[in-house]
């Protein structure tokens, strides 16, 4: 049995989020403040917490308004449903038919069929009517007492408003209730169909107990604040030996006479040893290959008092064992690197949690482990080792073929962790905004994986190789090449300074591959700017049978014409009208690079042809409007393309409307005098000979840049050494960046710092990423 998914309503910024979990490991990613931690905290609060675990700040911001509006509900009017907001958690379990006996209390009927069993936990008003009456009574009492004071003060007694009242009284007025969900009454997005009302579990059935009997949750928090006053709640940076000995103490304190527990301790200790030896051997071997400061061939050795009775007075010690046989020497663990310690710490915690779960009386079939940001202090290789091997930790030898299963959820900001397992485990927390409210939507990348068989492998490999931070960013910029990537930071500083504080992901993909990101960008709904080249070509009609081996001739694809599609379908005889239209194979075309202003020129840029703006000729591109260049994704997020556009260029007293074919050409046209001056020789853009007018300049530049000897990287590096105030950003890039700045500013401006002290405790750590 597994936790298939869960839906949250009105929980902080997760106002309506449905989160699907993979059966083994799920990875939560998203930019900062996208609700990843809330998503892990919510399920824990509902399952193992209780109503005391909730505060008014856990309600989504729109609920606050609803609370204050509820205040004005007429006393005598019936209370409408949903007048007072509730926080709901729907848990959906995937249970094979033979295992349904574990969830009998959650089965809607003995005639029921299916495998998805749901329970809703609702943090809801005990009695809306009483709540409103109590509030009014409190208010009247406050007012009466205030009236006795000397008049003339601005003082307003508690409660000033319903929210003010609930700040104090929430725990008394709200309670947890449990409902059985009938999957047949839900659509494929796990939303109720029609006015279905789930059946409440009767009090004596004990919804909370049922839930606890099914699922056990452990949360391995991220590193805590360094000045944490409570030493018992230390983070991963604490002395590993202390952590290990606490592993024993915590268990021993409770059950000193319980030999089963002592045995479990003993066994988990052995399990720890063998796990560390076995599972992490490759990692340790790798470490030895990398070399360790000062000592050759270090090996991990855990030396602890094997007699559990003595463990309480005797701290377990982690040592490094160096050397073999008689030459063995050990180093105490304070000599451990921070990263190594963190890794061991996590392993110990996971095994500890697991050992406790296995030894539980009436062990719940499901173990859900949240690990927050395991990457802290781990260098890239260790991160990858961790994520590759962590699932092996979860295998319990005796549990083969049983009802028990472990599921792990990792929240991370590390691309090394993220891409190691491909797209399928990724759950992307996407920030959206409806009205003034900040919300989060959770996207399941495994759905993307299934739908996009064409591009997914390319994308998975690309993202893994480049370790790009697409999933953590506020916006993405797809650029043509290295030059753009190097220069963009400077250009942003020049024309769109506020963008510097946004998390931008710059992907170097080139026009030929940019369109392959379309599906992913659209799936994620990520604001994206594509900076590409116009890639103008003069079409060449190939001779029949003639091999085109001219190096200068470029082959590219354009989609078959729509008319041709229609024609093909007609040929089909319309036999298959309902079937999806038969797509014609793309047509091959050939062209030679030419200046953009050459009449009849086309573009060979696949992104421009296939994605945005979807045009084939330079003429069309020139005339493309802002609307053509922009595509709206969902809830106001947009993609915009930027390619070289014509504007007046003045040279030698003449002014012409021109654009370059590449960034370098267009840069020089943007800054003709400056770039052609002798001092700019390192840029490599100086056109020799007589330059009569702007077109001649453009021609000369095109020739120069097209030469094999032209070094693009040298141009970029040389430009970086120049005074950045002296040159202007090429118009098309400037326009693009200004647009992006506007889009991202809209998105970011209303971010209110999370008021809940419990939320995002790792915020400081996150900001470092």
């Amino acid at each position: 049995m597994q936790l298939h998914s869960y839906r949250l309503r009105n929980f902080r910024r997760l106002k309506a989020a449905h989160i699907e979990l993979a059966d083994d490991i799920s990875i939560f990613v998203g930019s900062n403040n996208s609700g990843k931690t809330s998503a892990t905290q919510a399920i824990q609060a509902f399952v193992t917490g209780g109503r005391d675990r909730f505060s008014l700040y856990d309600f989504s911001s729109s609920c606050w308004k609803a609370f204050d509006e509820a205040e004005s509900n007429n006393v005598d009017d019936p209370i409408p449903d949903g007048l007072l907001p509730s926080i709901d958690l729907d848990l959906w379990f995937e249970v094979a038919v033979p295992d349904l006996y574990l969830v009998i209390p959650l089965l809607p009927s003995a005639a029921w069929e299916g495998s998805k069993v749901g329970i809703r936990v609702s943090f809801t008003a005990r009695s809306p009517l009483n709540l409103i009456q109590n509030y009014r009574a409190a208010k009247a009492k406050g007012a009466a007492q205030a009236a006795e004071l000397s008049p003339g003060s601005e003082y307003v007694p508690w409660p000033r408003s319903m929210t003010d009242y609930l700040q104090r009284e929430l725990k008394n007025e709200y309670e947890l209730r449990y409902f059985v969900l009938d999957h047949t009454q839900f659509d494929k997005n796990f939303l109720e169909i029609g006015d279905y009302v789930p059946e409440e579990l009767r009090k004596e059935q004990g919804g909370g107990a049922i839930l606890k009997s099914l699922i056990h949750i452990d949360n391995l928090g991220a590193q805590r604040h360094l000045a944490d006053p409570n030493p018992e709640a230390g983070g991963r940076s604490e002395d590993l030996s202390k952590r290990l000995s606490r592993f024993y103490k915590r268990n021993l304190d409770q059950r000193q006479d319980d030999h089963a527990a002592l045995r479990a301790l003993f066994e988990s200790e052995q399990a720890l040893n063998s796990h560390l030896d076995g599972v992490f051997k490759p990692m340790l071997d790798r470490l030895s290959k990398l070399g360790y400061p000062g000592v050759n061939n270090p090996r991990l050795k855990i030396m602890s008092a094997l007699d559990p009775a003595h463990v309480m007075s005797q701290d377990a010690r982690v040592h490094y064992q160096i050397g073999e046989g008689e030459d063995t020497a050990t180093l105490p663990d304070s000599y451990n690197g921070l990263g190594f310690k963190n890794l061991i710490y996590m392993v110990v915690e996971i095994l500890d949690a697991q050992a406790k779960w296995v030894a539980m009386e009436n062990r719940p079939p499901l173990h859900l482990i949240f690990v927050e940001e395991p990457e802290a202090h781990l260098h890239a290789q260790l991160q990858q080792v961790f994520i590759r091997n962590v699932l092996e930790l979860l295998n319990i030898k005796d549990d083969v073929d049983s009802i028990f299963s472990s599921q792990m959820v990792i929240t991370t900001h590390s691309p090394h962790i993220l891409y190691e397992r491909g797209f399928k485990p990724i759950r992307y927390f996407r920030r959206t905004k409806i009205g003034r409210e900040q919300l989060t939507e959770v996207l399941n990348l495994s759905a993307f994986y299934q739908d996009q068989s064409d591009d997914r492998d390319f994308l998975e490999r690309y993202l893994k190789l480049t370790h790009c931070d697409l999933f953590f960013s506020d916006a993405a910029i797809l650029v043509e090449g290295n030059v753009e990537r190097l220069l963009l930071p400077v250009m942003i500083r020049k024309v769109a300074r506020p963008l510097r504080s946004a998390c931008l992901c710059i992907l170097e993909v080139g026009g030929a591959f940019g369109h392959r990101f379309q599906s992913l960008i659209e799936f994620l709904g990520l604001t994206t700017l594509i900076i590409t080249d116009i890639d103008s070509v003069a079409l060449v009609v190939p001779e029949a049978d003639a091999d085109i081996d001219d190096e200068e001739v470029e082959e590219f694809e354009v989609p078959a014409d729509e008319e041709e599609d229609v024609a093909r379908q007609v040929q089909d005889g319309g036999q298959n009208p309902a079937a999806k239209p038969v797509e014609s194979p793309p047509k091959r075309k050939y062209g030679k690079a030419c200046l953009p202003n050459e009449p009849g020129a086309a573009t060979s840029n696949q992104t421009l042809i296939k994605w945005l703006p979807g045009k084939r000729t330079i003429e069309e591109l020139r005339n493309a409007s802002e609307t053509d260049k922009t595509h709206e994704l969902k809830d106001n997020t947009k993609v915009r393309v930027a390619y070289q556009t014509e504007r007046p260029i003045t040279w030698n007293g003449a002014t012409e409307n021109l654009c370059g074919r590449t960034l370098e050409e267009d840069f020089s046209l943007e800054n003709p005098g400056w770039s052609q001056s002798v001092e700019r020789k390192p840029l490599g853009l100086i056109v020799k000979g007589e330059i009569a007018d702007p077109s001649t300049l453009a021609k000369g530049l095109h020739k120069r840049v097209s030469r094999k000897s032209f070094d693009k990287t040298k141009f970029a590096l040389a430009l970086l050494t120049e005074d950045e105030d002296a040159w202007d950003v090429p118009t098309y890039i400037r326009e693009g960046l200004v647009w992006l700045n506007e889009e991202v500013r809209i998105e970011l401006e209303t971010v209110i710092p999370d008021v809940d002290p419990m939320a995002e405790t790792g915020g400081i750590g996150e900001a470092d990423e």
């Binding site: 038919v97 033979p98 295992d99 349904l100 006996y101 574990l102 009998i104 209390p105 089965l107 809607p108 009927s109 003995a110 005639a111 029921w112 069929e113 059946e199 009767r202 009436n362 062990r363 049983s402 009802i403």
Partner: protein, 648 residues
Amino acid sequence: MSSRANKPDTQADIDLRNCLQAVQPRSFIMKAGAGSGKTTSLIKGLSSAIQIHGEQLRKLRQRIACITYTEIAAGEIWRDVGSDPLVHVSTIHSFFWLLAKPFQNDIQAWVSERITEKIEVLEQKQASYGPRVQQRTKDKDTRDLEWLRSQLDGIAEVKGFRYGKGSDYLKGTLGHDDILKMVTYLIMQRPLFRTLLARQFPFVFVDESQDTTTEVIEALKTVGREPGVRCCLGFFGDPMQQIYATGTGLVEAEPHWADIPKPENFRCSIQVLNLANAIRRDGDDLVQVPGQRLGPDGIIPTPEGAAHLFVLSADDTRDANLVRVREWMAARTGDDRWRSDDDDHERVKLLVIVHQMAAKRLGFGELYTALNSRAPSSFKDGFLDGTAWPLSPCVKFLIPIAIAHTGNRQLEVMRLIREYSPLLEKGDLAGVTVAERLKTINELVISIAEGIAGDSNVTIGDLLRQVNDAGLLIFDPRLASYLNPDAALSGQPAEGAGSDDTQGEDGSDREMASMDAFLACPAKQLLAYQTYISERSPFGTQQGIKGAEFERVLVVLDDAESTHFQFSYEKYLRLKAPSDTDQKHIDAGEETVVDRTRRLFYVSCTRALKELAVVLFTADPEQAEAHLRQLDLFEGDSIHTHNVFEAG
């Protein structure tokens, strides 16, 4: 008490363990005759299952179900397996309720369906009234129908059903019958329900399977056949000891099941066992052999014992003759305890099919007649164990409280009131002081005690009405409707609306006549009746002694005094030809009065540890004696007539 799990293994126990040890545990039936230690084998089976599969079961949150016939047996068996929580021992009703309880929606639907069915039956009955139907019957039907319709309207409002003593749907209470019908329905109709049962309880053992209903057995077998899950079924029983008409008798083994016979008899003496095998010979093929008895000093030989048949005249000398039989047995066996004395009920167990003679002699003749002659069979069947619905409140509450009060055991009085009466429940006490309420109750108790244990002529009806009016007890709605016929909606129609016995015009008339007689009985007869059924008299009923054993047993065969049409010793012993109805049953291969009587006789005789005397009262003893000698049941020199007394 040392656990029966530690007794030595018999071959059957070894075979059973092999069934459980298989990778796919094999279902089985164990046929074990009287005195074979069937329950011991059951307990050993449970222990083996725990030992072999316990760890796995615990891990998977599964349990072993063991179904027994009574709650008392359930408690004993559970204790014998060390009160292991892995084993769920209960009656079939409790077990079924455990399975059904989580499915409240299905229960509600089933209850509505059932009420609708009853309404349809009554409507059909009304549509086909014959000319002989009494007005009283018509009125009752109209009331019942009205009542059922109001139930149907109210059922949707019921929040949560429970399993209680009698069914009261609007209060959310389901009775024993409801549970059996509903859960067999769920098992037969819902594959998910079968899967859930098999996965919760991969082992289901049934004790006394011969008296478990065919529907229940079939339902469990269906679970065993359910594809995709495994459920190991084990039935422990003896078709020869089936007592209840609703029992299934022999459970047929499915293909691939193990059929495990347990032929040992550890109880009876050699003579008694020879007779038992002779009786059994005509029933099935199980031949019992004396089991090895282990004492502290090694093997104890099986006693020789004795089994005598006396064929005597069915006249008014019956009682005197019984005394003479006992004298003769005492002289013959040299055991003085055959003779009558003050502690008679500890000396000889006298087994009779309930008969009027006992009732008359003990002083509850009218009560007996009211609920037996021409009474609905549910009354007759529930007479001996006090479960017939008119009697049950008397047996459970009124008689014990009268005895306790008379014996000045006030603690017991209060315990009974707390257990059965709503008058001391919190909800009922609102607005009344406890002192006042206690005073009311005390007055009621005094009047009950006077009625039952005193020397007044108060009738049972008077007493019950008084209790009903005061609300001291909540009566079964069927009973309540007789106490207060005007309150049409307060009672439920006779359960008979659905059962074969009271169906038709005749049925409810019979019930009404019977009830009238019952309510008019003097209340003091209840006390005598109590003495009788609590077996503090030497009389036992042949139906009520399953599983029990006694040193000396006297079985009385007497058709003339019996009003039970299901049994006839004369037919069984072929002294009387089968009736036309019997012949029809024989021709159809159905169960006959002969089969039933043979089983009753087998059960009665096998109660004897040492000596057994069987007395047949018949019209023509001489002729009967000659005939009986040819039957090869008793040894020739063990068959006697009244001549034997003269000779002695």
